[in-house]
């Protein structure tokens, strides 16, 4: 159940950007969204959190059309981390994470112990507790990303949508963020660029190409040599990683990639 899209389409400036995509996030599982730049991953994620209105099709949360759920109710269930979001305002780390409590607080409610606890727990989970009072603008790209994830966790969501959460992160933090997401046990839809990370951490993968769903299913069925060659235009050899997951090796000669490009 939880979050599903049925035949959703969306366009802008007279162009089809997402075309008839159907997918479903299994409860407590991680659904990876992969595809080349401009394939419509971010656009699809925005449709899934109702930041844009679908032009046809329907997005459902527990079988309810999310167009009919109030924004506030939706935000208590579903948290979204944008691909890149920054601010000119002088905020501290905890100011940003506190924003995650917005949907849980009434207009006149004062800050309470539950709010404080959610913020502290979220910061601890992304390993940023010591940075509680640091200024947002002084954080590195990866630290900002972790603070955004902490903000989303402070919403205490049951569905989490992440748009390239590993952007800017070093390899250790890429792994630790995705491990963290797995341990959360929440339903998660995550756009990823790194095919090996997708193979390693996702229970299911959906592959987008030019706004359309090309393949979906387990990493084993989606990540094949032919599909990757067709969609990304890169020759690969698929092996097995130490953990038994798929491992993708890129078959390129670093000295003459441009000549050999498809």
């Amino acid at each position: 159940m939880t979050l599903s899209a049925r035949d959703v389409s969306w366009g802008a400036s007279g162009r089809m950007i997402v075309g008839g995509v159907t997918l479903e996030a299994a409860p407590g599982k991680i659904l990876g969204l992969i595809g080349p730049n401009g394939s419509g991953k971010s656009s699809l994620l925005r449709l899934l959190c109702r930041l844009r209105k679908v032009s046809s099709g329907v997005v459902e949360l527990d079988g309810r059309d999310i167009g009919e759920v109030s924004r506030r109710e939706l935000a208590r269930r579903l948290a979204f981390v944008e691909q890149q979001a920054t601010t000119e305002i002088q905020l501290s780390v905890c100011d940003v994470v506190r924003l995650g409590r917005t949907p849980h607080r009434g207009a006149l409610a004062s800050w309470n112990a539950a709010d404080e606890q959610a913020v502290d727990a979220a910061l601890a989970r992304v390993g940023m507790s010591e940075r509680h009072d640091q200024h947002w603008h002084t954080l590195s790209g990866g630290e900002r990303q972790r603070v955004h994830i902490a903000r989303a966790l402070a919403q205490t969501p049951s569905e989490l949508i992440l748009d390239e959460p590993t952007n800017h992160l070093d390899i250790q933090h890429q792994l630790s963020i995705l491990t963290l997401v797995r341990r959360l046990g929440v339903t998660c839809i995550v756009a990823l660029h790194d095919l090996n990370l997708a193979a390693l951490f996702c229970d299911e993968i959906a592959l987008l190409h030019e706004g359309r769903l090309v393949a979906s299913g387990t990493p084993e069925t989606v990540l094949t040599e032919e599909t990757i060659k067709r969609v990304f235009g890169v020759a690969v050899r698929i092996g097995a990683s130490a953990s038994g997951r798929r491992h993708i090796e890129y078959l390129v000669d670093p000295d003459c990639y441009g000549d050999a490009a498809p």
Binding site: L51, R72, T87, T102
Partner: protein, 345 residues
């Protein structure tokens, strides 16, 4: 580890509120005593007692008149005007995510003055439309034009300011056209004096109009304080935090337009307050709107009351337009704010 008290610290809050109120009363008392006729503070309070509660202190009729009918209403209106403009600036800066947004720069004040002048000189709308009503229509028109121009130019937050500059020019030209072609010489002089910002003609009925507008506007803004915080990372981020973005924008833009229009229709256009005060307030209490908005209201009020005093005493025997004083005080203050707010790269 946490630096934020879990329970609001009520004694501290009440203490700060009382201190702010005392500062406000002190500014008003200064405004009442300072002027061409110097009046001792004690006399001022006695006159106040007479005016409000009929206490019968021995205050001369002239002093009583100057204090109660003239200076007190003027000081109160200056306070309301400064508070409302500062509040409008803080709201626009948050919604448009642009630190330069304020009613004057976005052309909302210019639109309001065109509307007011259209009613005053053209008799636009007949008896159905008051000067304030005309100002409101003008400010809404300006807001819509700026929004359309900005959206047409791509909607980025820096475009809004450019659109505002274009809108101001348009409305100022319209005002100038109406005044120069259709007003009598006497009307034209009166209008020009009013346009530059002037508390001279303020009387009690103006205060009775401005008070509910400023206080209701403040209350509505306070109800949206958390929503305004959520705009920090943009409208999409606010929406994904559960804020009904479209409704909040419409309500708060309307509140800003009403507050600006009311003040402009009474005292003309006054720049800089909406720009400088929110930055000063942020510098004092940080960016959270639950604190920022009340602080803007109080500092804006005190600032405008003091600016009005300066406008009366800076040049002996003359009254400077209030807009000149706010710019004289505001520009250096703004430079300091910019300098000190430089963030580490």
């Amino acid at each position: 580890m946490s630096h934020h008290p879990v329970q609001p610290n009520w004694p501290a809050r009440i203490g700060i509120a009382l201190a702010a109120l005392a500062a406000l009363v002190f500014a008003i008392a200064l405004a009442v005593t300072i002027g061409e006729m110097r009046i001792p503070l004690a006399t001022a309070f006695q006159a106040l007692g007479n005016g409000l509660f009929d206490l019968g202190y021995p205050v001369s009729a002239i002093q009583q008149g100057v204090i109660f009918d003239y200076r007190l209403s003027r000081a109160l209106l200056a306070g309301l005007c400064g508070g409302a403009l500062a509040l409008s600036g803080a709201i626009l800066q948050a919604l448009l995510r642009n630190p330069l947004a304020e009613p004057y720069i976005l052309g909302i004040s210019a639109g309001a003055s065109t509307g007011a002048v259209a009613v005053m000189i053209l008799g636009f709308g007949g008896a159905a439309l008051t000067v304030s009503g005309g100002a409101f229509l003008g400010s809404v028109a300006a807001l819509l034009i700026v929004a359309l121009l900005a959206a047409g130019a791509g909607g980025a937050s820096d475009r809004v300011i450019l659109a505002g500059v274009a809108g101001s020019q348009l409305f100022n030209a319209a005002t100038a056209t109406i005044v120069t072609t259709l007003a009598s010489a006497e009307q034209a002089r009166g209008v020009m004096f009013w346009l530059l910002g002037n508390f001279g003609g303020v009387r009690w009925p103006d205060v009775f109009v401005a008070t509910p507008v400023a206080l209701a506007g403040f209350a509505i803004c306070m109800l949206h304080a958390k929503a305004l915080d959520a705009f920090a990372f943009g409208a999409d981020a606010a929406a994904s935090l559960g804020v009904a973005v479209t409704r909040v924008r419409i309500v708060l833009f309307a509140v800003t337009a009403v507050m600006t229009a009311t003040m402009v229709s009474i005292v003309g256009t006054i720049g800089f307050v909406g720009l400088v005060i929110p930055h000063a307030a942020r510098f004092l209490v940080g960016p959270g709107h639950a604190r920022l908005l009340p602080v803007c209201l109080v500092i804006g009020a005190i600032f405008m009351i003091l600016a009005d005093i300066l406008s009366r005493i800076l040049v002996p025997q003359q009254i400077l337009p209030i807009g000149v004083v706010t710019a004289l005080v505001g520009a250096p203050a703004f430079a300091i704010i910019l300098y000190r707010a430089r963030r580490p790269a």
